[in-house]
Amino acid sequence: MTHLAQYLVGGLATGSLYALVALGVVLLYRSSRVLNFAHGDIATLGTFVAFTLIGRKLPFSLAVTGGLAAAALVGALFFFLVLRPAKEASLLGKIVLPLGLALVLSGIVQVVWGTDTLVFPFPLSDIRVYRFGQVVISETNLGTIIIGIVLMTLLYVLVQGTKVGLAMRAVAQSADAAQALGIPARRIYALTWGLAAALGGAAGVLLAPVVYLDPFMMLDPFLKGFAAAVMGGMDSLPGAVLGGFLLGIAESVFAGYVSFKFKTTMAFAVIILVLLVRPEGLLGRVYHRRV
């Protein structure tokens, strides 16, 4: 039982990161129907910027704010400079554009910061642990879970309880109708892109102290976060959170009790099963067009 609890704790910590990534993916998909394959690379760039600012002796909070701002700026600029002019692009085009951005950003990170594995300075210790009976959790993992939940809650409040969130939802439903009602759709789109990118950056900053910083550190978490978003429902923010936590826990428990070699395989097998039963995802909704 102790072991199960420990696997659950590990799964929760990993799942909170998957959930953060999934939220960014869903946020963008809801509003612009674009699958942002550059999400992981934008997050990596933001984390490296934060790393550089920490190296310049800036206080940690300021450095992280700078990193998230850089990620948000890249997201917003990508919308204004690429997606907006290419708004008539085909579905394939909308997939290829973020893929291109991903390659460009990955190249920039490798050229500017190199490809070595680096230690990301973090105020919480990954070695210092809290014990709850036989179950242990490190300061970093506890911080990751708490910060992840706080960020998810803030996003939920923003989207559901503020005028900006209302505008975001209106633009997501119909940009033309929202614009006719006086909502600045382009700015809302840019804000959404910036916000999603910053969320990814936050996941990167929380992940880097645990798995080390390198240009490819977001590859696995992005794939899992993306899968979590699909499992939860691509238009559901709570679904993204649920999908992230479920995936993290399933991976951890499966690895502990069945096989390490097939934990990723198992995770995606579960997703396939879920989509067979509920094609719209766990909390996604089916839209019926009225004739």
């Binding site: 990993t14 490809t115 070695i127 242990v136 080390y212 550190m217 696995d220 951890s252 690895a255 390490f260």
Partner: protein, 397 residues
């Protein structure tokens, strides 16, 4: 008159062909002023710490040789291709280097799976291949096909046997666990540990826990290892995953005796794993920089002068020199008229030869396994100390 004209034309054609033949380089990748060498290494991806250190070390050492005038008037041009530790990319890189760039020889290549992927191509194209950094056991049983291969790198199976024997005999290991990469590299290390256990008395393998090279974290593996209650844990991992697992097991309060393959010997591990990389027992096949060997330290100083970034990977950079220096000795011995077969003959004359970093290299027409010795070191407060004399294992190829 017409016959005379035909004779003159024929003579001119023969003369022209002869001149062309003389003007052509005697050997692919060799000109009167240059020798083209290359490598395919993980300069990015999960094993980048190996590639940047080893590749950078080879590159800096060849530049050092060039600065001294090269060998027999020829300077080296060294091409590095990034394979990101992916076997398919290693294959594409090597094909390009051999067929398009026309290299004289391939220096190293990192990753047992990568070496295995390019092995048959290298043998078929009869390209000189110097010290593939991979489990040397993939060459066993291929003696008659290895004419252009020379290796100064230990096999992971031999190393696994040594680590296990040392653990059982000197550290009183009883229950052993292995944390390994789920590919040829890790599997050969695991096989070595199993054979080591079979050759000793009183120890058993209680857990073999793997990870995939793409895994971002290894928390579940740490718990599994803790559950095994092994008193000794042997690592066959990338530096990143090695650092992750020792931190994770420290986090869950599991404190076995730690032993590791030499591929994790670089002091960068102290930066990555911190205190968790204390009291780790490792095997090595070259003297570790900073451990009192003047030649090794001087070599490292030269490397860092030419490429200051190598200060971060002193062991891996020195290992790069150890990969290439017996080959440079072979080129010296081959003389000014350089051909592949002359180098092979010259390399086969190398007997118990000490380089700046590598020691005791011997090649014969029957054996391409240049070294077959290891010794043990221990990490203590950011440094390594020597624990044993050389341990010798049988030559296999």
């Amino acid at each position: 008159m017409r016959t005379l004209a035909k004779f003159v034309i024929a003579l001119a054609v023969v003369a022209a062909l002869g001149t062309t033949a003389i003007g052509q380089p005697a050997e692919r990748g060799v000109t009167p002023t240059e020798i083209v060498l290359a490598t395919s290494m993980p300069m990015s991806g999960p094993a980048a710490l190996w590639g940047t250190g080893v590749g950078g070390g080879i590159d800096a050492w060849l530049r050092h040789i060039n600065d001294q005038g090269g060998i027999h008037g020829r300077k080296f041009r060294f091409l590095i291709r990034d394979d990101a530790y992916l076997p398919p990319r290693a294959v594409a890189n090597v094909r390009e280097l051999v067929e398009r760039d026309g290299i004289f020889g391939l220096i190293s290549s990192i990753g047992t799976a990568n070496c295995f992927a390019i092995r048959d191509y290298m043998i078929e194209t009869k390209t000189l291949w110097i010290t593939p950094a991979c489990g040397a056991d993939i060459w066993a049983g291929m003696r008659e096909r290895n004419k252009y291969l020379f290796v100064t790198y230990p096999g992971y199976v031999d190393e696994g046997i040594y680590l296990t024997k040392y653990g059982v005999e000197s550290l009183k290991a009883k229950n052993i666990a292995v944390f390994y990469q789920n590919d040829l590299y890790g599997q050969q290390g695991l096989l070595g540990v199993k054979r080591g256990i079979a050759q000793t008395k009183g120890a058993k393998l209680v857990a073999q826990v793997s990870y995939e090279v793409t895994d971002a974290e290894v928390a579940a593996q740490a718990l599994k290892l803790k559950e095994s209650k092994a008193d000794t844990l042997i690592l066959y991992a990338t530096p990143r995953h090695g650092a992750l697992i020792v931190r994770e097991i420290a986090k869950v309060g599991y404190q076995p005796t730690l032993m590791s393959t030499f591929t994790l010997l670089d002091p960068v591990m102290f930066a990555l794993a911190g205190e968790a990389w204390n009291n780790v027992y490792l095997a090595t096949y070259i003297p570790v920089p900073g451990m009192g060997d003047a030649k090794v330290d001087a070599t490292l100083a030269t490397l860092i002068r030419l490429n200051p970034a190598l200060a971060r990977n002193p062991f891996n950079a020195s290992a790069g020199v150890s990969f290439v220096e017996s080959f440079l000795e072979g080129i010296r011995r081959a003389g000014p008229s350089l051909t592949k077969d002359r180098v092979v003959a010259a390399m086969e004359s190398i007997k118990n030869w000490d380089g700046e970093v590598i020691r005791g290299v011997t090649y014969t027409p029957e054996s391409r396994q240049g070294i077959n010795r290891l010794f043990m070191v221990k990490s203590e407060r950011g440094q390594y100390t020597k624990l044993s004399d050389w341990y010798t294992y049988p030559r296999k190829f």
